[in-house]
Assembly symmetry: C2
Homo-oligomer: 141 residues x 2
Amino acid sequence: MKKAKEILQRSDCPISYTLDFFGDKWTLLILRDMMFDGKTSYGEFLQSKEKIATNILADRLGALESNGFVSKTVSPENKSKFVYTLTEKGIALLPVILEMTIWGSKFSPAGGNKELLKVLKSDKEKTIKDFTKLLKKRIQA
Amino acid sequence: MKKAKEILQRSDCPISYTLDFFGDKWTLLILRDMMFDGKTSYGEFLQSKEKIATNILADRLGALESNGFVSKTVSPENKSKFVYTLTEKGIALLPVILEMTIWGSKFSPAGGNKELLKVLKSDKEKTIKDFTKLLKKRIQA
DNA sequence: CCGCATCCCTATAGATACTG
DNA sequence: CAGTATCTATAGGGATGCGG
């Protein structure tokens, strides 16, 4: 039995609310892996370059699931494996993540995703819309 | 003497880089107060409804300053008071914060800023551009 | 062995009281 | 006004466990 670790809302401010849940260093990285790399399993998340600890990963996946950002199902191929997929509520975070990508690409010493930046620059709104559509399609299959 | 608390970069990923610095529950709220409420002083930040602790505020202001997101100057009116203002690097985070506002407004039980949402919906890119211009003007005065 | 969870211990975040 | 000091709670790293 898992306790659902509810979100404690500090104020009515929408920014504050967003940070109440996503204001940590790991949660959005999991969503990134799902959105951009199509990852769906615990093991795949573990392999990301930032090296998330197993307990943190389990905790965040649980929180994401119990708050409706991802759904957890048993893998059809492997009964002892779980598949995590984005919900629409999770997909709705794409614009936030993309803006973070843009900002990070501009200011990180490591540079950023030049390809993505070029596409975004030409028509950001369209890119967001199209990518959202793609993600939604992916979860229907 | 203050240690500059450098950012430890977990990977080359721009999203990860953004989270390395802004992946906490308070830093962006300070920027929110500066952007949307025009706050400029320690005392004003303390009064926000989320009730930030004094040591956290001091810590975050120090980090924001030493990393070039805000600048700290002595108040012209009151020599024993400091004035914090956004830099261009800080202003560049506006799109991220606005997307968080949009997301939070959509999903927070408390609802959100309906006015802002309406404006953003009609032309998001223009709104961001105009507001950025306003913020830049503000720091030149 | 792999996928996932738990335990333990340290480091950091954060609340409250206090100070130059 | 603008912080520090001190103390406690929580996040997080690494090892370990356990079932297939």
